[in-house]
Amino acid sequence: MSAPIHIPVLRLGQSYRSLDKIAFNVEGQALEISVANSGLIRRDLQHLPRAVEALHAIPTATLVAYCEKAAELFLKGNLPWGDDGRLQSPEDYVQALSQLTGLPHSLGRQNMGKVHAAMANIRAILAGLTRGMPLELFDRGFIRQDGLEVNFFPQTDSLGVLLPSNSPGVNSLWLPAPVMKVPVVLKPGREDPLTPFRLLQALIAAGFPKEAFGFYPTTHDGGDALLFGTGRAIAFGNDTTLKKYAPYRHIQVHGSGRSKVLIGDDFAGDWSKHLDVIAQSISSNGGRSCINASSVLTGHHARDIADALARKLAAIVPLPRHDPNALLCGFANPTMARGINERIDELLQTPGAEDVTARYRQGPRLIEAHGQTFLQPTLIFCESLEHPLANTEFMFPFASILQVPQEKMIASIGESLVVSAFTGNRAWIGELMTSTNIERLNIGPYPTNRVQWEQPHEGNLFEFLYRRRALQGDLVAV
């Protein structure tokens, strides 16, 4: 076995080897991740003005081109594994990612494609975020639009991000920030330091100044240092994370998604035509994303839909990580899988719920297969919205299905990241459009994981980082 690969802390341009390390083993190759102490992060963040300066020295149009180049490097290039000159091929990345996170190679590649697309489509994304304002906005601070000076100014000198490990695709969220000349400071998820590190290497190789990026694998304390040391921050987590950071306006928390499929009365009769879309909403990306549906609400035929959907979901079975058809993810931490399984069984003791997939599933929900621990897809029929399994989510293909009259659906869904409303009913669409509980609304029979690059995801990053103000007077010298 060769010497361990070492992934360093990136201190706004400086590579740093910590004495605290997390060790992994990837197919016999030792992998060490340096861990930053919180004080080190706080000290580094004092140098953010230099990072801002480095980005401002480059025209935005050039940064956009760098981002597009980085997209190709990320997808196809050989990039530094760590700090010793060894290179990581895309295949190395997919294999190691699979080993660390349980994501099968097929989904690893799919996520790679998603992140690649987010970078390759950066022009469309920026246009969507700014509603078509020219790129010079980020160079001059203002543009002239319809005869009016429009001035936006950065509200922060950095964007801090506490990343999760569940899905590499979430990295696409912060990618526009450095193009908008806002330095990025990342805390990778414990099991996935690889994706953000590879992305940063791609961006730097494409031309971005290395001073613009911080990469800090760290503890909870270090995570707090990052969140409170950056002017704007995003934290991924669960309901506990949400509660902890909710009081702080500069922190945007991406908690549980609780995304839903709502089947309108006008679509309920044809439910069998839409089963594939519903199953995709629940199971795409191994059910690991916040945009996966965790509830299906229909006004009619709930039991019939449940039975057919359960049959479809139960057909998704654990496969080896390298199988091109693999759709389920193993759990990097088997204890977590056991905990989730026990929790579902415990909540099923509350009357009024049935695990419909149990009728068709091969073997138990929790299963050891192909050297990994899996949770097999699970659909729970709930008789009422009050059942504890009716509006919850877990990190595998899991959903509840309920019969709820259409007129009661909007009031009952609670906060939902994505709602796919299968309807063409104009009046109901009007009500859905004004619901404050829905972050992202798909009208029609579309899966909850549908991505349209021009649309913002979980808030508008541009509006989070920049603010408009009045600009008047003599602007000739500006």
Binding site: L19, D20, N37, L40, K244
Partner: protein, 357 residues
């Protein structure tokens, strides 16, 4: 100043000191009410049966709840009768605090600490600043005595760890941060307006202060810290970045019940791993098997920290600390066992509020 004894000589001295202290605490003329009454009911006579330090194992583990429940007067050795005493309380405990009484022990401990370091480590005659828990703590008097002993005076900025723990317990993280800022504001003000060359503080507060100013440019020459876990990475960060590789650094491990254990000189060769040595023979630290505390762990392995304190003022056998550490061998500076990379007991298996101040 390092100990001049060899390892066997240090052991012989410890055994002799143990006999002397047992004789003192269990003699009616000199002992205290608590231990004399204990001996009357123990069914064995420590004076006869304790001949070496190893015989201390005949005592059960000291239950520090006694220091909460019993009146301090019960711990006054009869030889000290009539002399007013200091009452010291342990760190961040809430509710009825644990109290230890004392007279001169803190002076002895801190003079010995001072003598361990040369005249320039903490420049003689220089002023000190203590930023940390003062109030009813031994540390407050001890640091001032240390400053005075080295010919200087001491400024103080208080931090109440009990309030910090309460804030965190209530989920008031924002307020805890504001309180910390308030403490650092005061310390920074003193640093800017007074001639301070030496400091005692906690590692976290030291970090925070260094985020406000260069401590080197502020004129600091020596820093003495104690209070929380310091991993090798943390020590390296403090030495290289917080202190910019230019300020002398003396980490310690200690508390009201022990006094303070001095760290062996920090070296890159040791990868910044800290090893502390108890102020033997007045206090002895052993690293014991958590499941069988009568057994000492092999060198290089983690175990629970067990403390025995034996001074004329205070006797406390085999107290199991809430810490674990690696048992380390004697070194050039200290001819007895040390405790390395101390961390909260079972910190890898439970959540602990630590390092908040």
């Amino acid at each position: 100043m390092s100990s001049t004894l060899t390892v066997p000589q240090a052991q012989t001295a410890l055994d002799a000191w143990t006999r002397e202290m047992i004789a003192w605490h269990f003699s009616p003329e000199t002992g205290c009410d608590y231990w004399l009454k204990w001996a009357a009911q123990a069914g064995w006579d420590p004076k006869k049966e304790v001949k070496t330090f190893a015989d201390i194992a005949k005592f059960d583990h000291f239950d520090d709840e006694v220091l909460r429940k019993e009146q301090p007067e019960r711990f006054v050795p009869r030889a000290f009768a009539g002399r007013p005493y200091n009452v010291f309380e342990t760190g961040g405990t809430t509710g009825m605090p644990k109290q230890r009484i004392g007279w001169d022990d803190y002076k002895v401990d801190y003079e010995e600490f001072s003598d361990h370091y040369g005249p320039d480590f903490f420049p003689k005659g220089a002023n000190w600043l203590m930023v940390g828990p003062t109030g009813p703590r031994r540390l407050r008097l001890a640091v001032e005595h240390l400053a005075n002993y080295r010919g200087g005076s001491c400024y103080f900025v208080d931090l109440d760890p009990r309030w910090v723990k309460r804030l965190i317990g209530m989920g008031e993280m924002a307020m805890a941060r504001k309180y910390q800022e308030h403490v650092i504001d005061q310390a920074a003000t003193i640093m800017r307006h007074r001639n301070i060359q030496c400091m005692f503080t906690t590692p976290r507060l030291l970090e925070n202060l260094a985020e406000r100013m260069s401590l080197v440019k502020a004129g600091l020459k020596g820093v003495f810290v104690g209070g929380t876990t310091m991993t090798p990475q943390y020590v390296r960060f403090v030495v290289e970045e917080v202190l910019e590789g230019k300020i002398n650094f003396a980490p310690t491990y200690g508390n009201t019940l022990m006094g303070l254990a001095i760290s062996k000189k920090i070296t890159k060769a040791d990868n910044f791993s800290l090893t502390y040595y108890a102020p033997q023979p007045r206090a002895v630290l052993r690293i014991v098997n958590p499941d069988k505390p009568e057994e000492t762990m092999p060198y290089g392995e983690y175990g629970r920290v067990e403390l025995t304190t034996m001074t004329k003022e205070f006797f406390m056998p085999r107290f199991l600390e809430r810490d674990e550490a690696i048992r380390r061998p004697p070194c050039d500076e200290f001819p007895w066992d040390g405790v390395g990379d101390v961390r909260p007991f079972q910190s890898l298996t439970k959540t602990i509020i630590e390092g908040v101040y």
